[in-house]
């Protein structure tokens, strides 16, 4: 791969730009741009880094393979930052659930129905329509035993 290199003048110009961008960064930090302060600072930093990589590190004049290695390094860093931040930033988008209620918050209609329905007992499960059983003696009205005698109706 033939490699031309820059002239001394190119290096001086790039260095001058780097210094200008540095002062720009400091200036921008003195202004109040709200959430854009970080964005502006990072954009300027990326521009400076690109100048250093392209011209001082001669990537601009290098073959494609070196471009791929250089770009790949920062691409992998980008993957690290992107995936990690998409995890953190999306926490709280989906409601947290306790293990005892795995579907809490997901099916609101079903939950409201469940609230108004009576709690199922053994008798209801065996006789869901509530048909009275005439072959059995009706329970004495004084007795209040808990689920002991089959009445046919819950």
């Amino acid at each position: 791969m033939p490699e031309e290199h820059s002239s001394v003048r190119t290096y001086v110009v790039i260095f001058a730009w780097l210094v200008v961008l540095m002062f720009l960064t400091i200036l921008a930090a003195m202004l109040d741009l709200g959430p854009f302060n970080l964005a502006v600072a990072m954009v300027i930093a990326v521009v400076k880094a690109t100048l250093v990589v392209m011209f001082f590190m001669h990537v601009k004049y290098s073959g494609r393979l070196i471009w791929i290695y250089a770009a790949g390094a920062f691409l992998w860093l980008g993957i690290l930052l992107t995936l990690t931040f998409s995890d953190y930033l999306s926490r709280g988008w989906v409601p947290r659930r306790l293990p005892s209620q795995p579907t809490a918050g997901l099916f609101r209609a079903a939950e409201s129905l469940a609230e108004s329905a009576p709690f199922p007992s053994a008798q209801t499960r065996s006789n869901p329509a509530g048909i009275p059983r005439l072959d059995l003696a009706p329970p004495p009205t004084t007795q209040r035993s808990i689920g002991a005698q089959p009445s046919g109706i819950d």
Partner: protein
Amino acid sequence: MDARASANIPVGVPASAAEHERAEHAREVGHLDPHVAHQFDDAEQQRAASTLGMWAFLATEVMFFGALFLAYAVYRASYQDAFAAASEHLSRWFGAVNTLILLGSSFTVALAVHYAREGDGTRVVRCLLFTILLGTAFLGIKAIEWTREIRGGLLPGATFNHKLFAPPADAHGSDGRGPSEFSRHAELFCTAYFVMTGLHATHMIVGLGLLLWLVYITRRGRITRQYNTPVDMIGLYWHFVDVVWIFLFPLLYLIHGAGNH
């Protein structure tokens, strides 16, 4: 032989006459330059291989620092006000001067590579010495900064001065017995600051050692127009250290004031 291996020709298959000729020619050309190792056809290929190897190493270094930057980013996003308050205790002007110094040293080392490719040994040594001077100045200012900060109670751990970071009125109040959540988060910033600038400074010390070695071999006449790869490669390393600082400076020193997000 390596050309045959890369072409998946199994061992034992006799080389053709044409292959013999090509290998012979490559070896002859290589013999003209004592600095070209036998496995390369010419100096240009050797230089390309060295550059590729150096970039592979720099990619690992990017991930090395990248992990620290990631951790810093996550914690800063979580505790913005505490981080901004802690950053106020750093000196922006020391940081700015250091940035200028490091950019200048990148410039001088790029010049050194330029003169090495022209074979101008005297100028190479001069540029390298300037780079070493600027790098040492950077480390000196860093040492002054650290001394100032550690004496000011910013070193995380037993000596950390939690009283510096009285929580703002709206934060969850401390129980009065231990350090508040706010000051703990500020301590986290200081941990990130010392670790990241410390790792960066370590890289610079290694880089200074390499530059000194370069001065030595250049003065011994081992850097010529045909063979200047060491200058090139160590220049790449030095530029990388500069790029790390280009990101460190705004992230650590230039957090905009607390409560102004």
